[in-house]
């Protein structure tokens, strides 16, 4: 069986800095893969490479066995991989509905109806239907994260790359967003790769976790195993050789 999304020896060097260095990963259909690691480990670079925002220095990204790395971002979206940003970037001058409609015009056309109808459906799904006419600026951060999610979902992705969706918002909203992420996987049959610093969320949502440090994958496995890994503890806590 080929993986839905796979990275092979994926590397990105910025001058002498190896932001990402020979990372392999596989994502199965319907899977949630957590990506954790200290700041500067290369997590967001990994996403940028998979979403087409950056070209890899070496290695490739495969979707259903077809290479997508090196394609421009809008083509990667059409192929079925879409990302959200750690710092939300709604179009500030467009209403929430318009924000999502722009996205609904693109991507795989699995759903029927006009872009606007599809956008409304997605807004209902993420619980923003009553805010459709608002500008994103008046929403809470959690609300804007939902706009970001809705925009990504409106492209009908096969793989959703979530960059710290849960971090930085209040606990109640965080719980609701975690539930929403699970609902996306279960009801929309979308495989998810999520970068997250909020450990309880990663541990409970992920089927599998990979750990990055200094651009390299240092561990991979079930959440409960990974947190016990010696290398992981060293990367996070700086435990010496004692």
């Amino acid at each position: 069986m080929t993986a839905l999304l796979a990275a092979r020896g994926l590397s990105k060097h910025f001058g002498g800095l190896r932001a990402l260095d020979g990372v392999d990963l596989e994502l199965g259909a319907g899977e949630i893969l957590g990506v954790i690691g200290p700041n500067g480990a290369g997590k967001t670079t990994l996403f940028s490479l998979m979403a087409g925002s950056l070209r890899p220095t070496a290695g490739e990204v495969l979707l259903d066995g077809e290479p997508v790395s090196g394609l421009p971002a809008h083509r990667v979206v059409r192929a079925g991989v879409v990302r959200t940003h750690q710092i939300v970037r709604p179009f500030p001058n467009l209403t929430v509905l318009e924000n999502v409609t722009v996205a609904a015009l693109h991507g795989k056309r699995r759903a029927q109806g006009t872009a606007k109808a599809r956008a409304i459906e997605v807004l209902e799904f993420v619980g923003l239907a009553d805010r459709a006419a608002d500008l994103p600026g008046v929403l809470t951060l959690g609300g804007r994260k939902r706009v970001e999610l809705a925009r990504a979902l409106a492209t009908v992705p096969r793989v959703l790359l979530l960059d710290e969706v849960i971090a930085g918002i209040n606990p109640a909203e965080a719980m609701a967003l975690a539930a929403l992420i699970r609902k996306i996987r279960d009801e929309r049959k979308t495989a998810i790769v999520m970068i997250e610093h909020v450990m309880p969320a990663v541990m409970s949502l992920s089927d599998r976790v990979i750990v990055l440090d200094h651009g390299k994958k240092i561990a991979e496995g079930a959440p409960a195993e990974v947190v016990k890994d010696k290398q992981v503890l060293e990367a996070y806590l700086g435990v010496g050789n004692g």
């Binding site: 971002a73 001058n93 924000n99």
Partner: protein, 305 residues
């Protein structure tokens, strides 16, 4: 859409019902041409947010191609104008490499390309007649009728602006303007839409150039390709309100009247005065007359309450 049709209808009847002086007839015809140009400029400068200081290049290409077609063939003038528009639209696609630049960098590049085109066409005497220009066959009837041709074009371009803004295409242009990377991340190809809009905008400006050539009967590269013509498109949009749907039309009317006065009274200074006007508007009312109108309307409602 209805208000546009109403205004066009009234203006269409005006020369028939009223006894318009030749002076007013002339100013209105010029205003109609500039309205089309300013609205088309605004698709790129306002909707996509890429401010071009080089639209004179397409105006000139459209004008000279139309003139050459009229001189060389017996085709009716409208077909020659369309030929000019097509060539101008195709020439605009040549801006593709520039469209990877954004903001001020794009603007600076357009200044370079606009000026380069002026030099090329001034030295290409075989095509443009060089510094001495080109004369078209005299056609007094057509000159008079250009009032309605110009009005029709302005009406169509205004309607197109409105449709464009309300369409999903317009929505994507606004997304590109707001955040080009975030737009790409939801599947919007900024390159494709910018090419498309620059091509359409260039074609309409080229069409305007063709009508302009027929109207004056005599054209020269330093006028059609001139830098102050490019500045003119920017200024009309800024006066009326950059990025607003129909503001640039209002700006074009003000600009034509203003230019008429300034060129006559301050022939040495008028470019400097344009610059001053640009600065004042951008400092105090970035949305131009449209913004001013909204502000006054809000004041008025507050007072009434």
């Amino acid at each position: 859409m209805k208000p546009i049709a109403a205004v066009v209808a009234v203006l269409a009847l005006m020369p028939i019902v009223l006894d318009l002086s030749a002076y007013s007839h002339n100013l209105l015809t010029l205003a109609f041409l500039m309205i089309s140009g300013a609205l088309a400029w605004n698709w790129m400068g306002g909707f996509v947010g890429q401010v071009s200081f080089g639209h004179a290049a397409m105006f000139g290409v459209g004008g000279f191609v139309a003139a050459r077609v009229i001189i060389a063939t017996s085709l009716p003038a409208p077909l020659a104008w369309i030929a000019g528009a097509l060539v101008a639209g195709i020439a605009a696609i040549g801006a593709h490499p520039m469209l990877r630049l954004r903001g001020p960098y794009f603007s600076i590049a357009t200044i370079g390309v606009g000026e380069a085109s002026r030099f090329v066409f001034t030295y290409w005497e075989g095509f443009t007649g060089g510094a001495s220009g080109l004369s078209l066959p005299i056609d007094a009837d057509l000159k008079y009728q250009l009032y309605w041709w110009g009005l029709g074009l302005a009406g169509v371009v205004a309607a197109a602006s409105l449709l464009l803004r309300r369409s999903t295409l317009g929505l994507q242009l606004l997304a590109i303007k707001a955040d080009v990377d975030a737009a790409a991340d939801v599947g919007v190809s900024a390159t494709f839409y910018q090419d498309l809009i620059f091509c359409l905008s260039g074609a309409v400006v080229g069409l305007t150039g063709g009508l302009y050539a027929s109207y004056f009967g005599y054209i020269e590269p330093s006028d059609l390709f001139g830098f102050d013509r490019s500045i003119g498109f920017v200024l009309m949009a800024v006066i009326g309100g950059v990025g607003t749907v129909l503001g640039p039309a209002l700006g074009a009317v003000v600009f034509v009247l203003l230019r008429q006065y300034l060129v006559a009274s301050y022939p040495q200074l008028y470019l400097g005065l344009y610059g001053l006007l640009l600065i004042v508007i951008i400092l105090f009312e970035p949305l131009g007359l449209t913004g001013l109108g909204h502000r006054l309307w809000r004041q008025f409602r507050k007072v009434r309450r």
